[in-house]
């Protein structure tokens, strides 16, 4: 059984169908790619899974049960746009968000210090968040998303704002988490990263899942993920 099951999700705004019956599965210890052009509905789908947006129809299940408020601690979320308080200090802010994910103060601080150490950003702890660059803030935001050891990690355009070294560091961390059994739902424009990381993909276009399957099988005919993507989203 898949850790995350998304079945027939629909959502419309002002008569416009943003999601039109999208379904997908994400397994523990694997990365599932969510790929689509701008405005395809990727971010809305991720917000539905995070319970930030109420769907009009369909169901999201985690571990076989309909997802509810009690599941938030099992999910980690890295949104596309940065969501950090610019005036707060980095360490204090990271601990605050970890506590909102259910960790005690001491556990949150300990987890964050360990994570900061591994990411090589310990010296940012007492810096003001607003003083960090976009890429640095993205790394802090990633730490915030994973400190509570979520079983499902949702990443929305995680590589935006990173230079090559930063992107490599992030890729390594994602691989490490997957190795520990975390299910990752990765939404990205970066098809090379998707090809490198994803075991399975769902290509979404105009709110509909137009292709869904195992990445290796999809590419078995010699086509790259990029070619498949361009063909399926050509219309």
């Amino acid at each position: 059984m898949s850790l995350l099951e998304i079945d027939n999700i629909t959502k419309s705004y002002a008569g416009h169908n943003v999601l039109d019956g999208v379904s997908l599965r994400a397994e523990s210890g694997r990365v599932h790619g969510l790929i689509g052009p701008n405005g395809a509905g990727k971010t809305t789908l991720l917000r539905v899974v995070n319970r930030i947006v109420e769907p009009d129809g369909g169901e999201v299940r985690l571990d076989g049960h309909s997802i509810g408020p009690e599941d938030v601690n099992a999910i980690g979320y890295l949104p596309e746009e940065r969501g950090l308080y610019p005036r707060m200090k980095v360490g204090e802010q990271a601990v605050y968000f970890a506590r909102l994910r259910g960790l005690s103060r001491s556990d949150a601080e300990s987890a964050m210090r360990t994570l900061f150490d591994r990411l090589g950003i310990t010296n940012w702890w007492d810096r003001r968040t607003g003083d960090l660059s976009k890429g640095m803030q993205q790394l802090v935001q990633f730490a915030v998303a994973v400190a509570h050891k979520p079983r499902l990690l949702i990443l929305d355009e995680p590589f935006s704002g990173f230079d090559a070294a930063g992107a490599e560091k992030l890729t390594g961390e994602i691989r490490r988490l997957v190795g520990e059994g975390t299910a990752v739902l990765l939404s990205t424009h970066n098809l090379y990263s998707a090809e490198e990381l994803c075991s399975s993909v769902t290509i979404i276009n105009h709110g509909k899942a137009v292709l869904d399957g195992n990445a290796a099988e999809l590419c078995s005919g010699g086509k790259t993920l990029k070619q498949i993507f361009l063909e399926t989203t050509a219309q």
């Binding site: 930030i52 746009e81 940065r82 969501g83 308080y85 707060m88 968000f97 935001q141």
Partner: protein, 409 residues
């Protein structure tokens, strides 16, 4: 609940760390104390004696002016002589010139100054003495009534006392009116100021996409409750500090300059009663009577009940208006208008505190916090308070649910 407490803690800590929070904590009481102490700084009659040269062409007033420690009246003979004296002597504050007219009773006078205008206390004293001398002379010369008899006549009053027929307690309507308006003004100021802070706090999260991260961890209602309670607690702490520091400052100023304050209040009392037909005796007794009445009026008010009701209406009103502002931020001004309008209507409401308008406004949730404060000092039936609170609580719950939905992206 735990997550709400975490959000409350962050909101309080964030505000307490801002230098502007502590700056305001100090600046506001300093301004209040400074405003209170201004009468001390404006003028100091202890050190500044003023001289008025009197040129009376009518011979009606001369020698009848009574000098005091602060204001000395000196006859000057002619206006020309007085002008010369004024130029050479800087202690002469003004020349009082009463010109001779064809009519037998003088009806106008001039107070000439040079460079610096005479202060209000001096003008009040001159005006008062002119009226008293004129009236006493007319009473004696024309009607043959001794001034003392007139004073006795004028101080004889019928005191109308408004009392409860059962308990015999005085109504003290004026004191209740002032208490009601003051409480309503404080309520409107506090509710709107605190609610606007919440709106700014929520805007910070919406603008920076922080809400998206938080809402993936907590429910919208938890975020909203945390922000409103946290900001409210920080604001309340600031408010308590203002009251405590300003109170301590005022007490300190009074202790340091007690004598000076007595003089200033006497002067103010004289200026206030200047226009009335008050004799010297009446002037000295009127403020005492007023003070005694004020004290009795204040004692007749149940301040414990008023304070408790103020806190209840403030807390629910703050929650309601904060949530309403968040759920309809673009309509925050129209939402605040009824509360402000109630304050503007306060003269009408305190004139008829049990009238239809007052009762209606005290039940309507958008006006209840202010209208009820205006009415409470006069006494409000318990069922009206209960219905008013019920409507206000229902509005608060509705506003919270709406605002929580609005917070969802």
């Amino acid at each position: 609940m735990k997550k709400t407490l975490i959000i409350i803690g962050r909101e309080i800590r964030t505000r307490l760390r801002r230098p502007s929070f502590w700056l305001l904590c100090v600046v506001v009481p300093v301004v209040i104390v400074a405003l209170y102490a201004i009468p001390l700084l404006v003028d100091d009659p202890e050190t500044r004696q003023q001289t008025v040269l009197v040129v009376d062409e009518t011979d009606f007033f001369e020698n009848s002016f009574t000098s005091s420690e602060k204001i000395v009246y000196r006859p000057a003979g002619s206006l020309k002589y007085a002008r010369t004296q004024m130029k050479s002597d800087k202690h002469i504050s003004a020349i009082l010139f009463i010109p001779a007219r064809e009519v037998s009773i003088p009806h106008d006078a001039f107070l000439y100054y040079r460079t610096t205008m005479p202060n209000t206390a001096l003008q009040a004293d001159v005006s008062e003495q002119l009226q008293t001398i004129l009236r006493n002379n007319i009473l004696l010369d024309v009607y043959n009534i001794p001034p003392d008899d007139y004073n006795m006549l004028m101080t004889t009053r019928v005191k109308l006392r408004t009392q409860d027929i059962e308990s015999g307690r005085e109504a003290h309507l004026k004191v209740r009116t002032v208490a009601g308006i003051a409480l309503a003004a404080l309520m409107v100021l506090a509710v709107l100021m605190f609610s606007a802070s919440v709106l700014r706090g929520v805007a910070e999260e919406r603008g920076g996409r922080i809400a998206e991260v938080i809402l993936s961890s907590v429910r919208p209602l938890q975020l909203l409750s945390g922000k409103i309670v946290g900001i409210g607690t920080a604001g309340l702490l600031q408010f308590v500090l203002w009251v405590a520091l300003a109170g301590a400052g005022v007490v300190g100023v009074r202790a340091v300059a007690a004598d000076r304050f007595d003089e200033v209040s006497t002067t103010v009392g004289q200026i206030a009663t200047k226009g009335a037909e008050a004799s010297t005796q009446l002037e000295s007794t009127a403020p005492l009577t007023a003070n005694a009445e004020l004290m009795q009026g204040l004692e007749s008010i149940d301040f414990a009940l008023l304070t408790a009701m103020f806190l209840v209406y403030f807390l629910i009103g703050y929650l309601a208006f904060s949530a309403m502002f968040v759920s309809a931020s673009q309509f925050s001004i129209p939402l605040a208008l009824p509360l402000v309008a109630t304050l503007l209507l306060s003269p009408l409401l305190v004139a008829a505190p049990a009238g239809n308008l007052a009762v209606g406004l005290s039940l309507f949730p958008l006006t209840a916090p202010a209208a009820m404060m205006l009415r409470l000092p006069f006494g409000v039936p318990v069922w009206q308070v209960a219905v008013s609170l019920l409507f206000l609580v229902a509005t608060t719950v509705f506003a919270f649910v709406t605002a929580a939905k609005k917070l969802k992206i």
